[in-house]
C-alpha cells in the first residue's frame, strides 16, 4: 500500500567519515507538511544526518552512508540514482547565509532555474518575484534587484537563500540552524516565514534553540551521540519525554 502522506522514510541510516560512525542507525518517518525539529548536543550528528537526506554528505572526503532513506518511496541511495535529481527535490538552507558571490539579488534567486537551463525571461522573473514575496523579502529589495546579493544584511541574505531554495519548488526543505547566525529580529522574521512555508512544504530544521523548537515545530527528534533517542509530538517531548536522556537534555543537564 502506498501511503501518500509519507514523505521521507528513513530506515537504519548509518553515516560517517572514514572509520568514525557519526549517525548510528537512525529510523524515522516524516509525513507531509510535518515541521520536524532536530535537537541535540553539539557534535551528535544532526548536520551529518541532515546532509545524508539530500546526498550532500557524500561531497565531503571520506564520507560514507549505509541503510535506507526513501523520498516518496524512492530510495535515495539506490544504485543509479542521480544525486543531482535528489537535491532538486530536497532544498537546503545553511547555517551561514551563503548567497552566490558576484551575483545580483535577482540572479541569486534565479540561479536554480537559469543555471539548469530554464531561461524564459518572463517566467524566471515571475518565479523570482513570487519566491521573494514568499520569503518576505520582496518589499525590501524590489527596487534593487540588480544589487549584489552579498550587499544585503545577514538576515536579508538568509531570506534570500530561502527564496533561492523556494525557486526550485522542492517538496522538502532542510534547514541547518538557519537562524543561529542572526539577531533576534531577523530570527523572528525567519521563524514567521517558516510558519508560513510549512503550509506547503515539509520542513526539517536543526536548532540549538529549545524555545525555537517548541515555538515552531510540531514534531521533535532528539539526537544523542549519533542515535535517535526520542521522536514524537513536540508538546509531548518537551512536557513529558519518554526517555530519561531527553529529559536531562531539555532541562539542561548536558549539551
Amino acid at each position: 500500500m502506498i501511503n501518500k502522506d509519507l514523505v521521507l522514510s528513513i530506515k537504519e541510516l548509518r553515516a560517517g567519515f572514514g572509520n568514525a560512525e557519526i549517525v548510528k542507525g537512525v529510523s524515522m518517518d516524516i509525513h507531509r507538511k510535518d515541521l520536524v525539529a532536530l535537537i541535540g548536543p553539539s557534535g551528535c550528528g544532526k548536520s551529518t544526518f541532515l546532509r545524508c537526506l539530500n546526498r550532500l554528505h557524500e561531497e565531503t572526503e571520506g564520507a560514507w552512508v549505509k541503510g535506507k532513506a526513501e523520498l516518496f518511496q524512492q530510495d535515495l541511495y539506490e544504485r543509479g540514482t542521480d544525486p543531482v535529481e535528489i537535491r532538486a527535490k530536497i532544498g537546503m538552507v545553511f547555517q551561514k547565509p551563503n548567497p552566490f558571490p558576484s551575483m545580483s539579488i535577482f540572479d541569486n534567486v534565479a540561479a536554480g532555474l537559469t543555471i539548469r537551463g530554464i531561461k524564459k525571461r518572463s517566467y524566471v522573473a515571475d518565479v523570482v518575484e513570487y519566491c521573494l514575496k514568499q520569503a518576505a523579502l520582496w518589499e525590501e529589495v524590489k527596487d534593487k534587484l540588480k544589487a549584489p546579493g552579498t550587499s544585503l544584511s545577514g538576515g536579508q541574505q538568509q531570506r534570500l537563500c530561502i527564496a533561492r531554495t523556494l525557486a526550485i519548488s522542492p517538496p522538502v526543505i532542510l534547514m541547518d540552524e538557519p537562524t543561529s547566525a542572526l539577531d533576534p529580529i531577523s530570527t523572528a522574521k525567519i521563524e514567521e516565514l517558516i510558519m508560513e512555508l510549512r503550509k506547503q512544504v515539509t520542513i526539517i530544521i536543526v536548532t540549538h534553540n529549545m524555545q525555537q523548537a517548541a515555538r515552531i515545530s510540531d514534531k521533535t527528534a532528539f539526537f544523542l551521540l549519533g542515535e535517535l533517542i526520542e521522536f514524537g509530538a513536540t508538546a509531548e517531548v518537551f512536557t513529558k519525554p519518554q526517555e530519561k536522556k531527553t529529559e536531562s537534555y531539555i532541562t539542561g543537564r548536558f549539551g
Partner: protein, 291 residues
C-alpha cells in the same frame, strides 16, 4: 599597589612605542630602497624615450641605417599579434588548469600537474624559446608568429594556472554546497557559480599574465624572430616591440638608440597600464565581496 602598576604600564607602553617607531623606520627604509631604483629607471626611460617618441614612431616602418625618421609600427602590430596568439593559447589552458587543480585537485594527476606548473614558472624564458625553436621552428624550417605565440603561451599559462587556482580556493566550500543543494550538476556549479564568483580576480590574474608576456624578448628571439616589414602572415617571421628594442639597442647607431628608448618607454607604459587596470579591478571588487 596601584601606582606601581600604572608606572609599569607607562614604562611598557613607552618601550612599545619606541619599538613601534623602530620597526616603522626600518620598514620605511626598506620600502624606499625598493622604490628608489624603480623610480630612477622610470625617470631615465621617460627622459630618454619621450623625446624620441613622435607620430611617425606609431605609423611608419623602420628606415634603413642613416636615413632619419621611421618608426616601429610593424613591431607594435607584431607584438599585438604575438601577445594575442599567446593569450588565445595560454588563457584557456591556464584557466581550466587552475579550475582543475582547485576543484578536482586531489589525486596523483593533480600532484604531478602542480609540480610541473611550479617547475614551468621557474624555467628561464630563453629556455622556452630554445625549446620551441627545436620543436617548431626547425621542423617547419621557418621562424613564425605561431612559434612565437606558442613560446609566449608557455610562459603565460603556468602563471594563470596558479593565480586561478588560488582565487578559486578563496571561494568557500559552503558556496559550492549551496549550488549543489539546488540540484545543479557539479560542473555547472564550478562554471556558473565558483568561476563566475571569482571572475574579477581571475581576470586580474590573466591581465597580469598578459603584462608579463608583453615585455618578453628572449622567447621570441629564435621563434618569431622579427623583420623590418609589416607582418604578412602567421606562418612567417613576426616583428615585435621587445625584439626590435633589443636589436636597436645593440646597434652602433645613435638614431636607433633613441628609437630603442622610445620603444622601451612605450612598452613600460603599456605594461604599467595593464598592471594598474588589473589592480583596480581587484580593488573595485573588494568591498562587495564577503567571502
Amino acid at each position: 599597589m596601584k601606582p606601581r602598576h600604572s608606572y609599569l604600564m607607562l614604562e611598557l607602553s613607552t618601550e612599545r612605542k619606541i619599538r613601534n617607531w623602530a620597526a616603522l623606520i626600518i620598514i620605511s627604509v626598506m620600502a624606499i630602497s625598493a622604490i628608489v631604483p624603480l623610480f630612477f629607471v622610470f625617470v631615465h626611460v621617460i627622459k630618454s624615450g619621450l623625446p624620441a617618441l613622435n607620430w611617425a614612431f606609431f605609423t611608419s616602418l623602420p628606415t634603413p641605417v642613416g636615413q632619419p625618421g621611421g618608426g616601429m609600427a610593424n613591431s607594435l602590430w607584431g607584438s599585438l599579434i604575438l601577445v594575442t596568439l599567446g593569450s588565445i593559447i595560454g588563457i584557456p589552458i591556464g584557466v581550466f588548469g587552475g579550475v582543475f587543480l582547485s576543484e578536482y585537485g586531489k589525486g596523483k594527476i593533480a600532484f604531478i600537474m602542480r609540480f610541473v606548473v611550479d617547475l614551468l614558472t621557474s624555467v628561464p624564458s630563453i629556455v622556452v624559446g630554445l625549446y620551441i625553436y627545436s620543436v617548431v621552428v626547425v621542423p617547419t624550417k621557418t621562424f613564425s608568429a605561431y612559434a612565437g605565440g606558442l613560446a609566449l603561451s608557455i610562459l603565460m599559462f603556468p602563471f594563470v594556472v596558479k593565480t586561478t587556482e588560488e582565487v578559486l580556493r578563496l571561494i568557500p566550500q559552503h558556496i559550492r554546497e549551496a549550488g549543489l543543494a539546488l540540484g545543479i550538476p557539479r560542473w555547472r556549479v564550478i562554471l556558473s557559480i565558483v568561476l563566475k564568483g571569482a571572475l574579477p580576480s581571475v581576470t586580474t590574474g590573466i591581465m597580469l599574465g598578459i603584462a608579463r608576456i608583453a615585455g618578453e624578448t628572449a622567447p621570441l628571439l629564435f621563434t618569431a624572430f622579427g623583420n623590418r616589414f609589416w607582418p604578412h602572415g602567421l606562418g612567417e617571421p613576426m616583428p615585435s616591440l621587445p625584439v626590435q628594442i633589443y636589436s636597436y639597442a645593440i646597434s652602433p647607431f645613435d638614431e636607433w638608440h633613441n628609437q630603442a628608448w622610445a620603444g622601451a618607454f612605450l612598452l613600460m607604459t603599456m605594461v604599467f597600464c595593464f598592471n594598474l587596470v588589473a589592480r583596480l579591478l581587484i580593488f573595485r571588487d573588494k568591498p562587495s565581496q564577503t567571502l
